[in-house]
Amino acid sequence: MALLEVKKLKVYYQTGRGVNQAVDGISFELDQGSSIGLVGESGCGKSTTVKGIVRVMPTNAFIPEGEVYFNGSDILKSAEKEMRQLRWRDISIVPQAAMDSLNPVYTVRNQFLEVMQLKGDLNKKQALVRAKELFALVGLNSDLLNYYPHQFSGGMKQRAVIALALALNPRLIITDEPVTALDVIVQHQILNELKELRQQLGLAMVMITHDISVVAQTCDQIAVMYAGKIVEKGKGKQVLKNPLHPYTMGLKNCFPNLNQPNKELIAIAGSPPDLIDPPPGCRFYERCPFAMTQCQLEEPGLEELESGHLSACFLREDIDQYRNKAKEVETWLQVII
């Protein structure tokens, strides 16, 4: 049984102009100890997905349908009180803005002890011992516990937030752009640490990022999101080496690669559709160089084309040929917005 199973989850936002279908029916599952990367551009719904899973959402967000099974039970149906029990004990989060996720007017120690005493049923002494252990685990000096968050550097803060996420031995950790704001060297170290900690503690992880280079090296599985939907899902290697969806192919062209100085960058023309009134067919239709009439009318479902490798696209045969075409600039110039 999978540890986390998200089924057709929808998270919508109520806005002044109408309902924004930010996350529109996404499904994925995650086994104990494995990891998945949700990759996509801003506004594709990856952060909203996480908020929906743990149900800590802005007041104008709501979940019209979907199921989220954690350890076999549907947590979307559980009461807020039970949900609160689940948060941090079983599912913890390393947020996007780690810098701002600690309360500036309390010491780090205060915030560690609070979680462990209230949620972990430890007494103060035990909690303090545990806090020191956690700091050691992420490579921070335990003296730093007595400091205020603003006295930490970006990397230190990120480590402290990771330590806090591990405080109650959760089974699942969700990291939202965990290294985006950091310098490359620190970024590199934190990613490696996350990977080691995960193996050491047998944690499952959902990682959210816009940067395919980051998931390439940290996650077993990758799900590529576009405009509120998962368009492609598979093992890391499958998705990055042999993409099935034209969007993934295009996305790969957008990243410069330090090892390939001659690689030419190719942009994807246009921008994602307005999710308040999305078009009926494939949401990538307008920007897709291989779009067909069918794509405009009908929405392609996510289908398994190779073992464990799924794509939501009507291109289901001869994908190699398209993949090669997608590497050429001319292909993408044909798209007229």
């Binding site: 551009e41 801003s42 550097s153 970006g154 990397g155 310098d183 490359v184 060297i185 620190v186 970024q187 590199h188 170290q189 990613l191 490696n192 816009h210 940067d211 395919i212 280079s213 980051v214 390439a216 090296q217 890391g236 290697k237 990055l240 080496k241 295009g250 996305l251 790969k252 062209n253 957008c254 990243f255 410069p256 690669n257 330090l258 090892n259 100085p261 960058l265 190719i266 942009a267 994807i268 023309a269 921008s271």
Partner: protein, 330 residues
């Protein structure tokens, strides 16, 4: 004054910020944040240089110095053979402003929210008194088409909040180009844009600067981007350039231990490439009171006694490739 071969000649540029003394702390004489501490390079027409480094290394301040947006604490800066630091006459400053332009990191913030796109592009023409009414309209149309905002008229009356990030960055580029500059500084030009849009803006900038033979300085934390865009790369650390050379050479065969560490830390979008170990510590010393010797001594894996006593000279190891490291000299 004789014109020089070089568009940009920056020599030992320094910018120190005084640290405000605290009420109950005795203030030492050395309380300066040395944001830029002796940066030198020269650029010929059409050449491009990328300034890379971690946050706080002084790359953005260097960019500001190049645009005369902040006064230098020390050093000299010649632009087309003219000493820029001593410019005082309003007309001369204006003429420099016409030739040196800036592309911003945040396109959402770089345009006046109360101006239409047309008005934003008209401003530089009014300020520098270029063209007649009709000519101005044609110039604006031409420059917008040049940055692929076609048909230009459909954008004239739009406000910045009605446009996407990629389109805005094109407008910003157009605003820089409309006065026909010789030199452009681009400060993290795409870091605020979505990945799929970045490539378009980068390619456009590359194409235009090459076609117009513009001298450019790119400031970025992203080495892969700099390699893609620039002829030369300079790696900055704590206000100094530690290594400068032709981009591909520098990235393929880095010499300075800091450059090596930086390059090995860059994530590669390829699951087959094994993730190299970075072997330097992550404590960046404060740029306020630095010890004597090499600025990298505390983090360097190959540090020697010499490094703790003497500052290495920034010297040439190959044609156009300079490094500030004692190990590189032998």
């Amino acid at each position: 004054m004789a014109t020089s071969d070089y568009i940009i000649e920056l020599h030992q540029a320094k910018k120190f910020f005084p640290i405000r003394p605290k009420l109950f702390r005795r203030s030492g004489s050395d309380d300066y944040l040395k944001a830029v501490n002796g940066v030198s390079f020269k650029l010929k027409q059409g050449e491009s240089l990328g300034l890379a480094g971690e946050s706080g290394c002084g790359k953005t301040t260097t960019g500001k110095i190049l645009l005369k947006l902040c006064a230098m604490t020390g050093g000299s800066y010649f632009f087309k053979g003219r000493d820029i630091t001593t410019l005082t006459a309003k007309e001369e400053i204006k003429s420099f402003r016409k030739q040196a332009q800036l592309i911003f990191q945040n396109p959402y913030d770089a345009l006046n929210p109360r101006f239409t796109i047309y008005r934003s592009l008209l401003e530089p023409l009014i300020i520098h008194n270029l063209g007649t009414q009709q000519e101005r309209r044609d110039m604006i149309r031409a420059v917008m088409e040049r940055v692929n905002l076609k048909p230009a008229e459909t954008f004239f009356e739009k406000y910045p909040h009605q446009m996407s990030g990629g389109q805005l960055q094109r407008v910003v580029l157009a605003r820089a180009l409309i006065v026909d500059p010789a030199f452009i500084v681009a400060d993290e030009p795409v870091s605020m844009l979505d990945v799929s849009v970045r490539a378009g803006v980068l390619n456009l900038m590359k194409e235009i600067t090459e076609k117009m033979d513009l001298t450019t300085v790119y400031i970025s934390h992203d080495l892969s981007l700099i390699q893609y865009m620039c002829d030369y790369t300079a790696i900055m650390y704590l206000g100094k350039i530690v290594e400068l050379g032709p981009s591909r050479e520098l990235i393929a065969a880095p010499i300075h231990p800091y450059t090596k560490a930086l390059i090995s830390a860059v994530p590669i979008p390829d699951p087959d490439v094994a993730n190299e170990a970075v072997n330097i510590s992550n404590n960046v010393p404060s740029p306020i009171n630095l010890p004597p010797g090499c600025i990298f001594q505390d983090r360097c894996p190959v540090v020697t006694q010499l490094c703790r006593q003497e500052e290495p000279v920034f010297s040439e190891v190959a044609a156009g490739h300079r490094v500030a490291c004692h190990q590189a000299e032998t």
